[in-house]
Amino acid sequence: MNAPIVLDRRRVLAGSGALIVSFSLSRGFAQERAASPAPTLPPSLKIAPYLDSWIRIDTNGAITAFTGKAELGQGFKTAFQQIAAEQLDVPFESLKVITADTALTANEGYTSGSHSMQDSGTAILHAAAQVRALLLGEAAKRLELPIETLRTDDGAVIAPDGRRLGYGELVASDFLHIQAQPDSPLKDPASFKVMGQSIPRVDIPAKVTGGAAYVQDIRLPGMAHARLVRPPSYGAQLIECDAAVVEKMPGVVRVVRDGNFLAVVAKQEFQAIKAMYALADVAKWREDAKLPKHDELPSMLMAMLSRDSTILQRSDPKVVGQKTIEATYTRPYQSHGSVGPSCAVAQFADGKMTVWSHTQGVYPDRQAISEMLRMPQQDVRVIHVEGSGCYGHNGADDAAADAALIARAVPDMPVRVQWMREQEHGWEPFGPAMVTRLKASLDANGKIADWHFEVWSNTHSMRPGGAGCLLAAQHMAQAIPVPPAKPIPLPEGGGDRNAIPIYTFPNARVVHHFIPDMPIRISAMRALGAYHNVFSIESFMDELAALAGSDPVEFRLKHLDDARGRDVIGKAAEGFGWLKGQTAPQDHGFGFAFARYKNLAAYCAVATEVEVNRETGRARLVRAVAAVDSGQVVNPDGLINQIEGAIVQSTSWTLYESVSFDDRHITSIDWQTYPILRFDAVPDRIDAHIINRPGLPFLGSGETAQGPAAASIANAIASATGKRLRDLPLSRKRIKDAIDA
């Protein structure tokens, strides 16, 4: 990486051989077949190897970086701008970033799984570096100087005698339409001016001054407002709907009915809302949904039909366990709970559908929408515009489909669909309920001799592609059935994400019971199965540490070979002031937990102090100290923001949250019935320490703290009360019952 790499455009073109599929902006990105795919290209470059998929330089010098990922509020737009600016050697403010748009950017699938930095960030990193190299090469040619004598600065190539060639002067029209090479002349991290700095986020100024920043802020000329009338329960059939009175209401443009899909369009927003209530009144449904019993979820899950696979098997008969314990941990359905209910704008004009959506995957959503509408994909364009935080697959994709279906009914008129709060809570696909069963033995030295781990779970992704994943497609007259659930393969995993422990155990067996049937609508929620699996593993590690009479931190280090993991554990413990044999103040407890997200993304350890009110059972997070290793850090403050946020969110999940339902309906449909953390429960302090690894690959960090925070809190509660709770959420009543028992 440090040896000079020269990229000569002619050489590259000459060497690339066979067919080059040229790319036309007006056609949008078709599925490009890379001419001679270089097998050593990192992930997103692999799917879009042409440099101009990532970097565009106009002849006037304007620079644009492209990413197929979406800004979800994690600060990626800013981070990518930093990466591109650094590697191109241009001022940060001088370039802009365009995010996911099926007409403009590469198909990077979903912004999920903490892949954005690893995949898109890496692609931009390398592409920008290679573009800079090409510019140097071109300048060398024109100036007739050796390339080593030239340097770049401030958007220009500069010769020793001071001659400058601005980047804009160096490019011709398809200058960058050239495939990426396996090696890039990356800048030495020691010389970074912008990467590694806490550059203020580019999107925050608009958000704190009322600038247009969200899909909710889109206002197009002639735009109408739509509201949905969703069925009252899964599978309900609309048997009668005399909408005559609604059609006559002020401002109403259309009532859209397509099978069980029902919506109303009006000129003004409040008119649409009133019409929605009136329409709901005249809609008659036949319901036959049968939901499981909330209390029986764990036993139900374990009894359901499953496809079982052993994902880890290790055996060393020499090592024998002497003391054995086992435990079962459970997690209910939990909700994304986005503060802004889902929203989308769509317009159908000249046979083309344009959708503005906060979906995490513009390409898969486009495929699903085009399939739903029975339209060619290239006639559908999906543009990502920020929504409120989604934390996974929430209602965004569905709202996009709703808007498209409605827009088709009112050609040329832009339509804005806004879900109501109850609709977001009631219809979003939840994080799946899970059960884990663990059993382990200690040898004579107090080390783990054998380890058994089983997890029962649905798939953790029912994202579109496939129109059947969309509510609108399921509800319309020519319904498209829900596609069969499929597990996400390892090493990523879904229900089995982080089921394989990072620790080294001589005997180990991990079994994944994949349950295809989904009685309640589920899909991906931040960290997927890792939240519960890490909660289980790290709670159980503490239970084993207690059995061994060992300090929890020391116990983990005894079983961990991974050097970076050890560093992260040490850093968190040190930052917290963790002392072997410590005692917490009265009614307080200390807890610790650690994991490497997916065993291949960022490392995170979290130490917590929790206070438990013995009279009421209420637990409160007093302080948390985290350490994270994300590889090369691009924006330290952005990373800290994510870790702090993940800890607070996980605290809410862990202490409060479960979806509630009766025999037929989801009953947690607003903030009364699905409470989340408020300011009264916010801790006194959260400190996040970064271990920066300059030059090392980026590691995805958006989800890495969810599991460790949960287990750390559970361990702290056990330390405070002497009682071990294994069923999420660790609610006040459960803690009180445990204390009283």
Partner: protein
């Protein structure tokens, strides 16, 4: 029905039904972005604006209750070029992740600081009790409010800003 409403120092004649929630008047009639739809039920605070000096939930405030009143939204406090102390503070602390809840938080904090320039941490938390942040930005939000209090204490408000926040 036609209503007169002063919003961010400017008079507006609003043509909307008297029962229209102020939130939709602001967003749709006046094209103001800051106040957000979060729940429409008065449970989350994302719609908060200031009316006659007090923070209100605009999603459950019908137009008929604020007729003739003075409404201040986040847009009325300052701009990117000339931010108010509360906006400066939130930018300095980078107190946002998705940012959807932030405008409401800022208006509530602004109203608090206008009547109590040195709130304690407990008072700030109590004041923000109705506000939800799902991203978990709470620590930064608290720091930003404290920072804004300090800025307001030490800085002079420009005459333009003084006018619009009353």
């Amino acid at each position: 029905m036609t209503t007169t409403l002063k919003v961010n120092g400017q008079d507006h004649r609003i043509e909307a039904d008297a029962d229209t929630p102020l939130l939709y008047v602001l967003r749709d009639e006046l094209q103001l972005n800051a106040a957000k739809f979060g729940c429409g039920l008065g449970q989350c605070g994302a719609c908060t604006v200031i009316v006659d000096g007090k923070a209100v939930l605009s999603c459950v405030t019908p137009l008929l209750l604020v007729e003739g009143g003075q409404v201040t939204t986040l847009e009325g406090l300052g701009t990117v070029a000339a931010p108010a102390p509360i906006q400066r503070a939130f930018m300095d602390e980078q107190a946002a992740q998705c940012g959807y809840c932030i405008a409401g938080m800022m208006m509530r904090a602004q109203a608090l600081l206008q009547r109590n320039s040195k709130p304690t941490d407990a008072e700030i938390r109590a004041e923000l009790a109705i506000h939800l942040c799902r991203c978990g930005t709470h620590m930064r939000i608290l720091r930003a409010v404290r920072r804004a209090a300090h800025l307001m204490d030490t800085a002079e408000l420009s005459p333009a800003n003084q006018e619009s926040v009353r």
